[in-house]
Symmetry: C2
Subunit: 458 residues, 2 copies
């Protein structure tokens, strides 16, 4: 890449104030939230303000065959926005306006650089609700959430980001600006490019606008905690809850090591016999939530819960969530290093997953802590270790992925593949991988859009 | 195509009893449910029983460059399964087993040839519920529903077929058997081929198994009817209902001509002043449905409804639905010919759509009847005409599509493009069409899978 030439072209195309080549800028955009850190410093960082700018940037990059790295807040955990081969980081920071809240159609039209939390607060002012809530929602952007198809605790009831994207304006690798999806609630006109692009981690198109579905804000919420002597009982309660027609808004599971860590850290009175803890939240109409949380806790009692606590006040609710929120600081104290794998299995396989993970941890003599969104089978497996145990951990993680796939699960429920999990994708998708590569080549023949992510082209 | 050679290859590959070449068979599979009838008699009709058979059939067809027409019940309305260029019809009739109802994970694994209604009845025996309900559900198949991404009245609350497909086993054009999607509730591992294939009308892959999400069967249902002096009032009530946090299970709108036709046909006492009629159904927990239907009717009252009827008994509920069900037989009486276009607009644009359709009908001096799933903006526009008015109707339909797109809608909410609506797809998807074609070429380079559907390859 002839950086000076490309810089000149870009400055002519979108204005020199939007093109940065100083080492300060380049270093600041060299990494994302992935624990293992940055891979390469980009050659340029650009800040388009509209789809025309993006189209010009991509046209130049396509002509010159230069890598483009679309970037929201850079908070991804698998290297999705990291510039691994040099090239141009294209930030959405200056495309950060909410364009229209459409109260009649329960929808919002937004630019990609808007922070998810900010969008949620704005629509809530109108009594509306945008459910997706990845842990990063206070700083990650809508565009990044769409590129990664972000989830979150609430997705057990409300679905993932994909379920809220109705229409996208995108720019393809050749600079073509197009709309995919529909502002209508349903449409079967042509191929569903919208759902193909959502979750494609910036490798198929650059998102420049999103028309997102909203729902009315739920009237009321109820929260409870159930403590089980056996993890299998907690897992069974999760499965039975759905059969009892309770779809919880959140259904968080903590295993024995999680409970011990939280208790040591926060001293909130969790019993030492506890091997499983469920935090269950329901929401909906004011007149039904008490009945729903009672039903959920009845399911827990029947599955073997020894203690049940239903929050009667906002303070009690906060106390219950405190156990969950203490987890991250609590386990950070356990060992100097941590790796968090984001696996997901069919709900009924959660006990097998946790049992198998314990066996793997025992085999490699490693500390493991499991917790997560049990309602949708998404368990965060955390190995806690000393620096010298790195290689052991890598082997253990590979076994966890094998186990997950044997249980008909997926190697990533929320975080994506990026460059970190490329090795494991073929294990999961098998023969379909070649078809994914064929689509990539068809839409981005020069491989300029986020190259080296999800898979390498052979 | 050398029919004798291909017939021989196929008989060797999958058994001669599964390959039919008699004119009786070929004529019986020459058409689908599209009103304008069949286009071409196929050369062969084959009946695979598993994915290995399908893989062999597609491998032979790919080698010989022969068109393949995947076919469920052949009930599509836009020619999706019609064999328009000769070639081989591949029927899923012999792949009609429900393989597993997974009660723990609320899912069902099925072959594609199972009739949707049969699947619904089977899962209901376990207290489970498969919501998608296209009008054809008593005879159309799951595979066909997936290929067309079928909707139905209930999709306003429960979503379309796509929202219930978790994983598919498919065969690609080159014979590759692969799984797409995941049995886990969420997965972000690689490209979302599953949602690309759903709704692709058999042009990208042949579906051989489907793992479908189920939900617990709702405990109770309530039904009501509201009659409005003005169509705008009825449309406004639909929009306001969502703001009042009532998501109806069904929300069917009848316009003035529909009401008059039903009244003339069934004499059920609908008032002559009525220009809009809403049938609203809610479902959910037994303890909340009375409150919900009251809320919905309060919204209707405020929007201007003159008469409200909430069904107190199953008999009264049937009476309300009788108005809706009488529509098809009632309008058939009006004129010798009918064309039903399945357009969809954002909910708030329904009044503009209906007003615009009336103007178009007036301009061409045609009779038009509008009704449909107002909750999701999906209006069935029916022109009723004499045979000699055919050409006028065609022009009017084109104007209806233009109007729909001006209102940011879609030319097909449920029925698909097939070969009937190919002309109108570019109007809606614009620049994205070339990207759809690129994907088709990448996955099916010899264009054997349902060629000539959705678009023609140039």
């Amino acid at each position: 890449m002839n950086v000076e030439k490309v810089e000149k072209y870009l400055k002519e195309a979108i204005g020199k104030e939007r093109v940065k080549s100083s080492i300060d800028f380049r270093a600041a955009y060299a990494y994302d939230g992935t624990p293992t850190g940055y891979k390469a410093i980009p050659d340029l960082v650009v800040f388009p303000e509209n789809e025309e700018h993006v189209s010009k940037i991509l046209s130049i990059a396509n002509e010159e065959k230069i890598p483009i790295y679309p970037r929201g807040a850079g908070s991804g955990l698998t290297g999705g926005s990291a510039p691994i081969n040099g090239g141009i980081v294209v930030s959405t920071e200056k495309m950060n306006r909410i364009l229209e809240i459409d109260e009649d159609n329960l929808a919002v039209l937004t630019e990609p650089g808007v922070v998810t939390y900010d969008l949620q607060k704005e629509v809530e002012k109108k009594g509306l609700f945008y459910p997706p809530d990845p842990s990063s929602y206070k700083y990650s952007t809508i565009g990044g959430n769409i590129a990664e198809n972000a989830g979150g605790p609430r997705c057990v009831k409300y679905g993932v980001t994909k379920d809220y994207v109705m229409q996208l304006e995108v720019v393809f690798a050749d600079g073509t600006i197009a709309k995919v999806g529909s502002k209508a609630v349903k449409s079967v006109a042509g191929y569903n490019l919208k759902d193909l692009i959502v979750g494609s981690e910036g490798t198929l198109a650059f998102i420049t606008k999103a028309y997102l579905k909203l729902i009315p804000k739920p009237e009321a919420v109820r929260t409870a905690m159930a403590i089980f002597p056996k993890i299998e009982q907690a897992a069974q309660a999760v499965a039975n809850m759905f059969k009892a027609k309770v779809i919880p808004t959140a259904c968080e599971l903590l295993d024995k090591n999680s409970i011990v860590a939280v208790e040591n850290y926060a001293k909130i009175g969790l019993p030492s016999y506890a091997e499983g803890l469920l935090i269950v939240e329901v929401d909906g109409y004011a007149s039904i939530v008490d009945e729903l949380i009672e039903r959920a806790m009845e399911v827990c009692r029947k599955a073997g819960a020894e203690e049940i606590k239903i929050a009667k006040t906002e303070e009690e609710r906060e106390h219950i969530w405190h156990a969950r929120r203490s987890l991250s600081p609590a386990i950070v104290n356990l060992k100097p290093k941590k790796i968090n794998e984001d696996v997901v299995v069919p709900r009924s396989r959660i006990p097998d997953l946790i049992k198998g993970v314990y066996e793997i941890a025992k085999k490699y003599d490693l500390m493991v802590v499991n917790f997560g969104h049990a309602g949708d089978g998404n368990i965060h497996v955390n190995f806690m270790y000393e620096p010298h145990e790195e290689e052991k951990v890598e082997r253990a993680v590979r076994e966890v992925f094998r186990l997950t796939l044997n249980l008909e699960g997926s190697v990533s429920g929320e975080h994506g593949i990026g460059w970190m999990k490329k090795e494991f994708l073929p294990w999961e998708v098998g023969e379909a991988l070649e078809k994914m590569k064929a689509i990539k080549k068809a839409l981005d023949p020069n491989n300029i859009l986020n190259p080296g992510k999800i898979f390498d082209l052979s």
